[in-house]
């Protein structure tokens, strides 16, 4: 459980994978290493997962360890909890996070509390992987992120990779973790051809086993003028914005959260203490969201006032509309981040 964090080493060679491939590779490697690991979910067998998370595993490990399920999320996620209590390490897929409403009890009242209710005597080593995010016209029941919904409820860890390298390392960490880990992968980054893919999410991903630690954010760009905190898709938007801002002499630091529970408050605080400005960008609903928590964390803790009031950009508190003219109007993007940052460099408070 204590393999080196590959993010701190120089990669040996370029081996560019998509997040989908990185996930299925990580699961496959763990299944090979540990016979208690298995995968379950809808269409994860022959089909390899609607989002490619289990490609090739059925052929390799067979139907007992790669189990297609009925459309019965309450039962099969509940079953995963029972398996996890009985010596197995299930990896379960909830196809879209938007479906959490039919099965949340098994997640937050059973899986997340098993360790606590048993005084640490029964653990719940399971991974729930689920797709998040919109931007491709799938409308209001298939485009949500719901990061904060999961972050708010105790007893589970919640990870959100922004690239293949981290996806593989976080998946290994998640499978080896003795706790329920919610692994949220963003459809815009997944590398399924048919969904388009942000190029930056496809990156060098070593073949060997390595863990990216859960609970550690990553400063993906150093800068001195403002801290932009993002996660999943918005990391890439922030990076694109930072490039443009660089031309105008604004030097943005970008923090990729990677995990929202436990939240790496230390890395955020250190960055904001340095830059004096904070913009949080996410594509979940605004209120009671990622931005709220990070702004509160910073404002509670930092002794000196910021150079500009902390800001957040998120999907507004409305259902996600289908029509692309509305959907893209509402979602954050590089251009919006750029102009918001420029505004934040003006008049200090």
């Amino acid at each position: 459980m204590s393999l080196p964090d590959a993010t701190v080493e120089k990669p040996a060679s370029e081996r560019r994978l998509t997040i989908a491939k990185a996930m299925s590779e990580a699961i496959g490697q763990e299944m090979e290493r540990d016979s208690t690991v298995l995968v379950m979910g809808e269409d994860i067998g022959k089909m390899g997962g609607v989002f490619g998370t289990t490609t090739g595993l059925f052929e390799k490990f067979g139907k007992d360890r790669v189990r297609d399920t009925p459309i019965s999320e309450t039962a099969f996620i509940g079953a995963a909890v029972g398996m996890a209590a009985s010596g197995m390490r299930p990896v379960v897929e909830l196809m879209f996070v938007d479906f959490f409403g039919v099965c949340m009890d098994a997640i937050y009242n059973l899986a997340a509390k098993q360790s606590y209710f048993s005084g640490g005597k029964v653990s719940c080593p399971m991974v729930l992987m689920t797709s998040v995010g919109g931007g491709y016209g799938d409308a209001g029941q298939h485009s949500q992120c719901l990061y904060a919904t999961f972050g708010h409820l105790p007893g589970m860890k919640v990870v959100i990779p922004s690239n293949a390298h981290d996806a593989k390392g976080l998946m290994l960490s998640a499978i080896r973790d003795d706790n329920p880990v919610i692994f949220m992968f963003h459809k815009a980054l997944q590398g399924m051809g048919w969904l388009g893919t942000v190029a930056g999410s496809i990156n060098d991903t070593p073949e060997r086993e390595y863990c990216v630690p859960i609970g550690k954010a990553s400063v993906v760009r150093e800068g001195s003028d403002i801290t932009i905190v993002g996660l999943g898709a918005t990391v890439h938007q922030a990076l694109a914005a930072a490039k443009k801002l660089d031309d105008t002499g604004i030097d943005a630091e970008i923090v990729d959260l990677r995990t929202i529970a436990p939240l790496d408050r230390k890395t955020i605080l250190a960055s904001v203490a340095k830059t004096g400005r904070l913009l949080v960008v996410d594509d979940d609903y605004l209120s009671f969201g990622i931005g709220s928590e990070i702004i509160a964390t910073v404002c509670e803790a930092l002794p000196a006032p910021l150079k500009y009031p902390p800001q957040r950009m998120a999907h507004p508190d409305i259902p996600i509309p289908f029509t692309p003219v509305m959907e893209h109007f509402l979602l954050p993007d590089a251009g919006k981040i750029e102009s918001r940052v420029i505004a934040m460099m003006g008049e200090k408070t």
Binding site: E42, D43, G45, K46, M47, V50, D68, T69, P70, I71, S72, T74, A75, D98, F99, G101, V102, G135, Y136, G137, D138, A139, G140, Q141, H142, G193, W194, L195, G196, P316, D317, I318, P319, P321, F322, T323, P324, V325, M326, E327, H328, F329, L330
Partner: protein, 327 residues
């Protein structure tokens, strides 16, 4: 049945209309998505679930329904919406995300609401079933003899909502009919791999309600079973379950490579395409070819008009996204 000339003609015309609607969607969906298929692009972004092959389910049931009867449908809703009489222009415009769409583009293809004919659908498996029970109870409490019909797939019959809704409907003697479109697949998973029983009508007894199985994707068979069930509901005798053996002629969604289907299966199913089969039967049973041609032509024209309307219609103003979050 054979005496019911106008109903059968209507059913045939609606099947043609529905199929033509899907046939119009196909090229439009791929516009802007080639050469590399990317679901996010083109005039019809997002998932698209076509109903080719499942038209008998829609027409055989809706032939018995009035505008004040409620229908809740699924992620695969077009055929049902059309048979229920949803405004075709507004429906096409909605699917294109346009201003005069049913919801001004907010809902899209999985969220079609037309209160004029009490139609709605939802993309969450089996979750339209509770609302159908509620609509049925509303009618009952209001002293109306309107009924409600919930459509679902055979995959959805393994979702908890199925069980809860059937039990609730039975306990409350709700005037509701549950219609399973059994196309043998839930995305890639065959029914046999995920359902404990061979036929979902075996489950009806667990809710003390009648179950009807309709074989061979037969519109007349659906019409007959639905007639019994809807009469029962309308007369206050309670709910029923109908299972229709139908076929999915396309992928689960557009772009689905269908690696999970036996190679020749679609071809075999296409040979039993219910629309030419029904036409052949009607002709055999004495329908005038010209009458059928005319009905076909009219149906197609309406669809063509709807697509012209939708394409010509403007996009809404982006900021209108903020409207209608609350009533």
């Amino acid at each position: 049945m054979s005496s019911n000339h106008s109903k059968r003609l209507w059913m045939y015309a609606q099947m043609v209309k529905s199929r033509h609607f899907e046939d119009m969607i196909k090229p439009a969906y791929f516009e802007g998505k080639t050469p590399v298929f990317n679901m996010a692009k083109g005039p019809l972004p997002g998932e698209m679930h076509l109903s080719d092959g499942q038209e008998p389910c829609a027409v055989g049931v809706c032939a018995h329904l009035r505008a004040d009867d409620t229908v809740t449908a699924t992620h695969r809703p077009h055929h049902i919406a059309i048979a229920k009489g949803v405004d075709l222009n507004a429906m096409a415009a909605e699917i294109f995300g346009k201003k005069d769409g049913l919801a001004g583009g907010r809902g899209g293809h999985m969220h079609l609401f037309d209160p004029a004919v009490n139609f709605s659908c939802s993309g969450i498996i089996a979750q339209g079933m509770g609302p159908a029970v509620g609509a049925a109870m509303a009618a009952k409490m209001q002293g109306s003899d309107a009924v409600a019909v919930a459509f679902l797939g055979e995959g959805a019959a393994n979702q908890g909502a199925f069980h809860e809704s059937l039990n609730l409907a039975s306990v409350w003697q709700a005037p509701v009919v549950f219609v399973i479109e059994d196309n043998s697949y839930g995305i890639s998973v065959p029914k046999t791999a995920c359902t404990a029983v061979a036929s979902n009508v075996e489950r009806a007894a667990g809710y003390a309600m009648p179950g009807h199985n309709v074989r061979n994707n037969d519109p007349d068979g659906v019409y007959e079973a639905a007639g019994i069930a809807i009469d029962r509901a309308r007369s206050g005798s309670g709910p029923s379950l109908i299972e229709i053996e139908t076929s999915r002629l396309e992928g689960h969604f557009m772009g689905d490579p269908e690696g999970y289907r036996p190679k020749d299966e679609v071809k075999r199913l296409q040979e039993r395409d219910p629309i030419p089969a029904y036409r052949a039967r009607l002709v055999t049973e004495g329908f005038d070819q010209m009458e059928l041609d005319r009905a076909e032509r009219e149906a197609r024209e309406l669809v063509d008009q709807a697509f012209s309307f939708a394409r010509g219609n403007e996009y809404p103003e982006p900021k209108e996204a903020f409207d209608h979050v609350f009533a």
